[in-house]
Symmetry: C2
Amino acid sequence: MPKGDATKGELKTPSCRFCHGSNGIASQPSYPNLAGQQQQYLYDAMLAYTNGTRTGPMATMMKGQLQNLNSQDLADIAAYYSAMK
Amino acid sequence: MPKGDATKGELKTPSCRFCHGSNGIASQPSYPNLAGQQQQYLYDAMLAYTNGTRTGPMATMMKGQLQNLNSQDLADIAAYYSAMK
């Protein structure tokens, strides 16, 4: 995982917020909270969506949301959410 | 999702704790924290592992861990972790 920058990560999260909340608390109970989640786990989960190894009801949507982000972007986003209280 | 009972859920989590922590905070950064996570999300995630719709690096292990639990058990475990601070 590249070293993540939480400040840059915040700028890359507009599409995350609709479901995962501006405070990292999900807007619906079927979506996961991200605030304070493990940075490595978040990075791995996003990467697994982009490369198709994580499947499930939300996988196609998540893959679409993440398709224009590179590994540095994912690390920055993971840093941003993991640092949230 | 059946109505979950957090007290019963606690009794069903011995195998969860090794990776997800006795306080719901993961023992390794590649595992997700569960404390305070959305109850419905936790239930859906466990169910998806058991029926094979959620795949990924941990899916085979998770399916094994969950194989003897029914939907009421999963709801109880989800209630337990979602109520954790």
